[in-house]
């Protein structure tokens, strides 16, 4: 695979075999792993359901995450209570693990509201502009540092920020500026890049001549490539990077080497620009399959367990479909009210004019 380094951290092979790594070890239990497997299965189901809803005209757009479940579930489980997450627009599984109501995500893509999310202090709004959030995360991390919330003896007093971006975003000025600021201030931020090989129709080769993780060195902080389809490795590497940040050792760049099995968004047609043989090759590296194989061989899960999770996925699907009907459109009044924190006479007069116009329409 182009861009895959011999240094890539892998703890679970595509065939479901545990392998040792000199630097990283997965220290969780089989129960933890069963939990991750469940998260990945549910995330994939949610994603499929949302894709279908878009096809039915219920969502304006959807950004499929299929194939990236391990990268997202593994990294999300590395976050602690005080850590804060800055997503792009595809981190549905991260949101799910952190407890963000899925209706929040659906509302954005349905256009019922612009992002009135319930867990903003933990998981920020999706960012549609590519890479902007890398700077927000870095600034937030600078704030963590100013608050003295790094390097304390009591680990509960420490925090870090994690920001998700893709391989395409690595070309953005804002993302590169974020690396510079993070390095200059030694900010407690982890750049979690899901290199899913494609920026819409553009291959990674167009964004970078070298593996992305090697760029970090030029910015002056560690870069590491991890098998993004191996949830054990992702969890272990993200744990390490987040702990470095919380401890006061500054930023880390993680390249989660993975694949976008679906389209960029539901408006996209991957058959126009990529080979199906590629997809086939990656299908063999599926994150869910390999973990299920491993846990089955371990005796940690069995058919009954998998069937129970499948039932859970079915009812999640039904819930998601039912949620759509309950999403309420934001009102023009609410929009007028929230443009500013401190209302202005000028905008208030526009609101009144519009209200008067509506009243006239109804009369």
């Amino acid at each position: 695979m182009r861009g895959q380094s011999v240094e890539m951290v892998q703890l679970l092979t595509p065939d479901g075999e545990r392998v040792a790594n000199d630097d990283f070890e997965f220290t969780g239990s089989a129960d933890d792993l069963a939990g991750y497997l469940r998260d990945m299965i549910l995330a994939r189901r949610f994603d499929a359901e949302a894709t279908a809803l878009q096809r039915h005209g219920e969502l304006g757009l959807w950004t499929p995450l299929i194939g990236q479940e391990a990268a997202q579930v593994g990294s999300a489980h590395a976050l602690r209570a005080a850590d804060v997450c800055f997503p792009s627009y595809r981190e549905h599984a991260v949101a799910m693990v952190l407890g963000v109501p899925l209706s929040n995500l659906l509302g954005l893509f349905r256009g019922t509201d612009g992002g009135h999310w319930e867990l903003l202090e933990k998981f920020k709004n999706y960012q549609i502009v590519i890479g902007c959030q890398a700077l927000h995360a870095t600034g937030y991390a600078m704030g963590i540092q100013l608050d003295g919330a790094v390097g304390n003896a009591d680990p509960d007093q420490n925090a870090a920020a994690i920001v998700y971006h893709g391989d395409g975003a690595a070309s953005q000025g804002d993302v590169n500026e974020a690396y510079v600021f993070a390095a200059s201030y030694n900010a407690p931020v982890v750049f979690f890049c899901q290199n899913n090989q494609w920026a819409i129709s553009e291959p990674i080769a167009l964004q970078s001549r070298i593996p992305l993780f090697q760029r970090a060195q030029g910015f002056g902080f560690p870069g590491i490539q991890v098998d993004g389809n191996d949830v054990l490795a992702v969890k272990a590497v993200t744990d390490w990077a987040m702990e470095r940040a919380r401890h006061g050792d500054g930023p880390t760049f993680i390249e989660a080497y993975t694949y976008r099995m679906g389209a960029h968004t539901t408006s996209d047609d991957p058959t126009k620009y990529r080979e199906s043989s590629d997809e086939e090759a990656w299908r063999g590296r599926d994150p869910i399959l390999r973990l299920a194989t491993y846990l089955r061989n371990l005796g940690a899960v069995d058919d009954a367990w998998l069937a129970a999770v499948e039932d859970e996925a079915k009812s999640l699907g039904a819930d998601v479909r039912a949620t759509i009907a309950q999403l309420k459109d934001v009102t023009m009044d609410e929009l007028f009210e929230t443009v500013y924190a401190e209302p202005t006479v000028a905008l208030e007069s526009q609101r009144r004019e519009y209200a008067a116009y509506l009243a006239g329409e109804d009369a």
């Binding site: 870095t138 600078m142 401190e342």
Partner: protein, 325 residues
């Protein structure tokens, strides 16, 4: 308690007071620390408040604005300095796509109490990109507030009001007026920053200006007075939103309006003011709203900037045109 200060010093004092008043206020920007900023507006502040409160930034405007967004999310009130008007554009995307939209995007959950200080305007003989008037770009962006101070007293108070606002404020400082002195009253607060102020009362016509052009309009009014024309001068102070109450009440009395700004004519603030006055005072005004502005060209080289910039003569010529209706 009064003191005669330059606008630069008044801003410095205002920033100092804001830093003293609220530990969450911090300054960030290029060269603002040891150097005190290229215009010395932040002089001495890093020495007094330390490197965590007065932060020298890497040379990247988008980075400065974007990290300030994150600082707001963490509960800070960042005041960022963009070194010159023409250098704001690398940070423009963060300002219009993120800073301005964050409050509405989040249904009011996330405030952006950020101040973006920009020295703006011409008249100082500078090189390219150092004399621009980008205010209309910001005024056309819902979610931002845009203000400009025209005298040291307003500079001292408005910078504090901007920092105290829970909305993002683009704070435009008329760089050619930095070294002009004026009385600063440290005890009596002036009008809130969202109000315009009538800085000279008159009855024949109203000159509407903000920032660097307020003084030019006052100079023009002084000359006009010698010729027997009694001009009113309104300092808008707030460019977005405009204080229509003050503007309309003035023009209702004088029945003639001339808007003066350095920015290019087409789609400048003058266009909006003319449209609004026409809507509100169509049967009252004796003449159309006229505009004295920069021309629709990139800002010219320094040796000819005086021809580009609205001057006392150009303003008086336009007043004559208005009075001839």
């Amino acid at each position: 308690m009064n003191e005669k200060l330059t606008m630069a010093k008044a801003l410095n004092r205002g920033l100092r007071r804001a830093l003293q008043a609220d530990p969450k206020v911090l300054l960030a920007g290029e060269d603002i620390g040891k150097l005190g900023g290229v215009f010395r507006i932040t002089e001495g502040l890093q020495a007094e408040f330390g490197e965590n409160r007065v932060v020298d930034s890497p040379l990247a405007e988008s980075g400065i604005i974007g990290t300030a967004v994150g600082l707001c999310m963490r509960g800070y009130r960042p005041v960022v300095e963009i070194q010159f008007d023409g250098f704001v554009f690398p940070g423009f995307a963060q300002i219009v796509s993120q800073v301005a939209k964050m409050h509405m995007r989040t249904g009011g959950r996330q405030k952006m109490p950020m101040v973006i200080r920009i020295p703006f305007g011409g008249g100082i003989g500078a090189v390219e990109h150092h004399s621009e008037s980008p205010e209309a770009y910001f005024a056309h962006t819902p979610g931002l507030k845009v203000v400009s101070c025209a005298n040291p007293n307003d500079a001292y108070w408005m910078i504090q009001q901007a920092i105290g606002s829970d909305d993002p404020v683009v704070f435009l400082e008329p760089k050619r007026r930095y070294q002009q002195k004026g009385e600063v009253n440290f005890t009596d607060r002036p009008a809130p920053m969202h109000q315009a102020s009538i800085v000279r009362h008159g009855s024949d016509a109203t000159l509407l200006a903000y920032g660097p052009m307020v003084k030019t309009c006052l100079d023009a009014a002084a000359v006009a007075a010698e010729e027997g024309t009694d001009l009113e001068v309104v300092d808008l102070r707030t460019i977005s939103p405009i204080d229509w109450v003050t503007v309309i009440s003035s023009v209702r009395r004088t029945r003639r309006a001339i808007v003066v700004h350095e920015a290019p004519l087409t789609l400048g603030l003058g266009a909006e003011i003319a449209a609004k006055l026409t809507e509100e005072l169509f049967y009252v005004m004796e003449s159309p709203v006229l505009r004295v502005a920069g021309f629709d060209m990139p800002y010219p080289p320094a040796r000819v900037e005086s021809e580009y910039l609205p001057s006392v003569d150009r303003i008086l010529d336009t007043v004559d045109t208005s009075l001839a209706y």
